[in-house]
Assembly symmetry: C2
Homo-oligomer: 513 residues x 2
C-alpha cells in the first residue's frame, strides 16, 4: 500500500509521478495497478489549467469563420454529448471550418492562447473520445466534405476529413470501387474520424487495417503547422512514415484534414450466408472450415449470440430468418466470378451442414436481402441502447478464447446485470462484450472492472481492439501496454503538442499528459 498512498498524495499531472514509477521499475506492475485503481479511472480527471474562451476569442473566431462559429447552446447540445449519451461536456463554442487553412489558423490561435480543442467528426465514437470533457472548443470536420481526387486506374481516393463514410461508399460504387472499410455507423461517421480512431469494422478481415490502406494524410499540428503527407502512392520508403502517428491517436497529436486511401474494386459478386450453430466450439470449427474452403473470397465472418438476437427482435422488431440457435454467423463472400463464388459457397455449406457444424442457414445474393441479413449484425449496437445503460467492452483475444469471456462474465455477474451479450468479428479475434443495466450502476461497474481487463490481460489480449481508449478507457492502457511503451507515447505527445491542447484527457492515462 506504500506505493498506492504515495500516488494518492501527489497531483496527477506531474512528471514526478512518472519518475517515481521508473524508480520502482522492479515493481512496475504494482505501480501501474495503483495508478489505475486509486480512483474511478473512467471518470473525468480534474480540469487542466487551459484558458477559458473570452469574448475576444469569439470575435476572432467569428471573423475567421463567419456564420460557422456556433455558440447557441441548443445547437451545441448534440456535439457536447456522445452517441451513447454516456459522456457530456459543456463546450460553449463549436467551430466549423471548411478548409485546412482555417483549421491551421484555429489551432495556431488556440495554441497561443492555451485553449483546449476537441476535434470531432461524426461523433459516433464509443469511448468518449469525440466529445469535450469540460469546455474544450469543438472543432468539427462536418463542413470539410469535398472529394479532392479519385483515380479510377489506381483506385486511390483523396478527400477531406469530414466526408461521411457512406457518402464515400456511394461515390465509389458509382465508379465500380468500394471503400476498404465498412462499419455500422457509416451513415454518420467521418473518414477523418475513422482514421483518427483506426476504425476496424466489417471488412478488415479481407482488406486489412487502415495502417495499410491509408496512403497519405494531411494533418494540422497543435501549433497550426500543416503537415502534408498526402501521398497517393502504394509504396513510399522515404524516411519515417509520419502518417502512422496520426492513425489511431484519436486527435491527440494532430487534426487530420485530408485522407488518401486505396480502394478495392467493387466485387462482381457478393453473397451473404446467415447460419446458426449450437455451440461456440462449432462456430470456431465452421470458421476454420470456411477459411479453407472460401479462401480468397471470404470478406467477413461475424457472429452474434442468442441474447443479441432477442434484443434485435424485442427492440427493433427484426425477424430471425432461421431456427433459433445459441449462436449466429454472418459470412460474406466477395469475388470476381459469381458462378465460382456460388460453387465455393455451396460446397462449404454442404460440408458444414452434413457435418452438423451448422444447424440451419439461409443465403442471400440479392442486394435487399443481403442488407436485411447484415442488419442483424450491424444493428446489435443500436438494439442495446434500448436496454437502459450499456457497459461496452471491445476486446481482442486469441479467437478460441473470445466467447469464454462472455460466459465467464455471466457467471461472475449473476443477477447484477440485465444482459451480458457477445458479438463481433470472429475473423479478427475481436469480441464486443456488452453488459446492460436499467440505469448507471456503480456496483455493477465495480464488479465488471477491472475484472474484465485482468481477464483480457491474462490472455495477452487488447482491452481496446478497435474503439480506442478515449476518455473512458485511458487509464486502463497498462493492461495492454508496458510502462516503457506508455512513457514513450507521453514523449511523443509532449513533442507534438507541448501544451497538451489537442483532445486533452483522452487516450493517454492521467499520469501522462
Amino acid at each position: 500500500m506504500g506505493i498506492f498512498q504515495r500516488f494518492a498524495r501527489i497531483p496527477l499531472k506531474s512528471t514526478y509521478i512518472w519518475s517515481l514509477c521508473r524508480q520502482y521499475s522492479t515493481d512496475l506492475t504494482a505501480v501501474d495497478r495503483a495508478l489505475i485503481q486509486h480512483r474511478n479511472p473512467g471518470a473525468a480527471p480534474p480540469r487542466l489549467p487551459f484558458s477559458r474562451v473570452t469574448q475576444e476569442d469569439l470575435a476572432f473566431f467569428r471573423t475567421l469563420l463567419p456564420g460557422r462559429t456556433i455558440t447557441d447552446p441548443d445547437l451545441l447540445k448534440s456535439s457536447n454529448v456522445d452517441w451513447l449519451k454516456t459522456v457530456e461536456g459543456n463546450s460553449e463554442v463549436l467551430l466549423r471550418p471548411k478548409t485546412t487553412e482555417e483549421v491551421s489558423q484555429i489551432l495556431r490561435y488556440c495554441n497561443e492562447r492555451n485553449l483546449a480543442v476537441c476535434p470531432q467528426g461524426g461523433n459516433t465514437g464509443l469511448v468518449g473520445g469525440s466529445v469535450p470533457v469540460f469546455d474544450e472548443i469543438i472543432l468539427s470536420t462536418s463542413l470539410m466534405k469535398q472529394v479532392i481526387t479519385f483515380d479510377n486506374i489506381s483506385g486511390i481516393l483523396t478527400c477531406q476529413a469530414g466526408c461521411v463514410l457512406e457518402n464515400l461508399s456511394n461515390y465509389l460504387e458509382e465508379r465500380d470501387f468500394i471503400m476498404p472499410l465498412d462499419l455500422g455507423a457509416k451513415g454518420s461517421c467521418h473518414i477523418g474520424g475513422n482514421v483518427s480512431t483506426n476504425a476496424g469494422g466489417l471488412r478488415l478481415l479481407r482488406y486489412g487495417s487502415l495502417r495499410g490502406t491509408v496512403l497519405g494524410l494531411e494533418v494540422v499540428l497543435a501549433d497550426g503547422r500543416i503537415l502534408n503527407c498526402l501521398a497517393t502512392l502504394r509504396k513510399d520508403n522515404t524516411g519515417y512514415d509520419l502518417k502512422q502517428l496520426f492513425i489511431g491517436s484519436e486527435g491527440t497529436l494532430g487534426v487530420i484534414t485530408a485522407v488518401s486511401i486505396l480502394c478495392p474494386r467493387k466485387p462482381k459478386a457478393v453473397n451473404v450466408a446467415f447460419l446458426g450453430c449450437s455451440s461456440f466450439q462449432q462456430l470456431l470449427e465452421t470458421f476454420q472450415c470456411c477459411r479453407g474452403m472460401l479462401g480468397e473470397i471470404l470478406s467477413a465472418f461475424e457472429f452474434l449470440d442468442a441474447s443479441c438476437m432477442s434484443l434485435l427482435e424485442k427492440h427493433l422488431k427484426l425477424t430471425n430468418p432461421i431456427t433459433e440457435s445459441p449462436f449466429y454467423i454472418v459470412i460474406e463472400t466477395a469475388g470476381s466470378n459469381a458462378t465460382h463464388d456460388e460453387e465455393k459457397l455451396h460446397k462449404f455449406l454442404e460440408e458444414v451442414m452434413t457435418s452438423s457444424l451448422v444447424t440451419d442457414g439461409t443465403v442471400a445474393t440479392e442486394a435487399t436481402k443481403i442488407k436485411a441479413l447484415w442488419s442483424l449484425r450491424e444493428r446489435v449496437t443500436e438494439a442495446l441502447t434500448h436496454e437502459g445503460y450499456t457497459y461496452k467492452y471491445d476486446i481482442s483475444l486469441p479467437v478460441e478464447k473470445i466467447y469464454d469471456l462472455v460466459q465467464d462474465m455471466r457467471g461472475h455477474l449473476g443477477d447484477m446485470a440485465k444482459n451480458v451479450v457477445g458479438y463481433g468479428h470472429v475473423g479478427d479475434g475481436n469480441l464486443h462484450l456488452n453488459i446492460t443495466s436499467p440505469s448507471k450502476d456503480p456496483a455493477l461497474l465495480a464488479a465488471i472492472e477491472p475484472y474484465v481487463y485482468e481477464w483480457t490481460s491474462k490472455w495477452k489480449g487488447s482491452i481496446s481492439a478497435e474503439h480506442g481508449l478515449g476518455l473512458k478507457k485511458r487509464n486502463y492502457i497498462y493492461y495492454s501496454k508496458p510502462s516503457e511503451a506508455v512513457a514513450l507515447m507521453g514523449s511523443i505527445k509532449a513533442m507534438l503538442d507541448p501544451k497538451g491542447i489537442l483532445n486533452p484527457y483522452k487516450t493517454l492515462p492521467d499520469n501522462i499528459h
Copy 2:
C-alpha cells in the same frame, strides 16, 4: 546563390542550419535544393565525433559475447561492404548477440560510451543502409534465428529478428502457411532487416505492406531499454502504435530483436503466366484487364523490359521461354480452388491474346516451372551486377508513368550509359530503373542525378518506393517529403536516440541528425 553559400560555410551537423531553413520558410524549396546540391549528396559525410573502440571496450564485449566478438579483419570484410560492393566501411568489431538481453547490454554500453552502431541483418540492402560508413560497431542479428511461436489457427508467427526469410517460408510451408512477403534476396535477408526497411517485394499487391501484416515488434532502444510491443493480435487500439516508428526506419530509431507477423494460408493452387507485350501501353491495358478478370486470385503482376531479358540471357544463361518482345509480364495467381483459378486464368489469357494485347505467353502450374519463370523476374538484379557498376533507382509513380521515365532517361543519357533498363512491380506503381556503366562514372552520375529525382518529384512520385534511403539517398529526401515532415523526423530521432549512435549517416539528411 546567397542561401547556397551560407550553407557551404556552416558545418553540416548543426541545428543552426535547420533554424536557418525555418527562417527562410517562404523559400524552403530553394533551401532544400541548396542543401541537396552543394556537394555530392550520396557520398559519405564527415565522421561525427563518436568515440573510437578501445581495448577496454573490446574486453567488455568479449566478456559479454565470448567467441561472438569478431575482430579478425578477414571475417569482418564481408560485413563491411554492401551486397552491391558500392559502399565500404572500416568497422573493426562485429558483435553477434543471441538474445534481446545481450542486444540491450550492448546498446546500453555503446550509448554510455558514445560508440556508434550499425545494425545489420542479411546485408542485402541496396542503398548502403546496412554497412558501416566509418568505424561503427556492426551489430549483427545473424545468431538471433529462433522461431518463438507459431499459432496455426491464427497464422501468427513470432520469431527473432535474424531469421532468414526463406527459412521462415520453408518453416511455414510445412505448416500450410506462407510468409506475406517474398523477395529476390530471400535466401539471405533477415526478417528484422525486412521490417526495418519496410521491404515490399513480390506479394505486396496481394497481402499488403508490412505496416498491416506486422502485428508486433520487440525493439531495443538506443539506451538499451527494451520496448516490448510483441503483440500477437490482429487488432489493438490501445494508445499510439509505436511499432510503426521502427518499421522502415532502417535501424536509426531502435534495433528490432523480434517480430510477430500475420501469415496467410498457403494457397491450394498457384499458376504463373509469362507473357510478352509489344508496348508498355498494351502492358498497362493487360494489367487493367487482369485486375478485372483475375480479381481476388491475382497475387503478382511484375514486368521486365527487353534489355533485362538480354542481360539474363547473356550473364545468367537463362532462356526466354517465349517470342522476343519489348516487354515481359509475370502474372501469378494464388487461390483456394485449382479448377476455378485455371478457368479464370484461361479466360483472361484468351481475352488478352484475341485482343492482341499480349503477343505470346506460357503458363506454369508445376513448382519447378513456376520457379523457372519467376527467376526471370527475380534474377534481373543479379544479372545487372555482371555489367560493371549499376546506378539503381527505386521509384514509385502513377502506374501509367512508370516506363516514361525509362524512355526519357535513355534519351537524356544517350551513349553515356551502357544500359538503361526498367523492371518492377506494375501492380504497386513501382519501377526499378537501373543504369549501368563499365565502372563508377561521376559524369554519368551527374547526368542522372538530380534529373531522375526532379522527374519523379514532378509527378509526385517517391524517390524510394521500397529500398529506403540508407546512406546513398538520404539527402534526396526533400524530393519526396516536405521540409516540415523531415524536421519532424529529426525530432523523433532526437527523442529516441539523443546521441545519434544508431546507424548514423543513414535515412535522415545531413542537416538533420
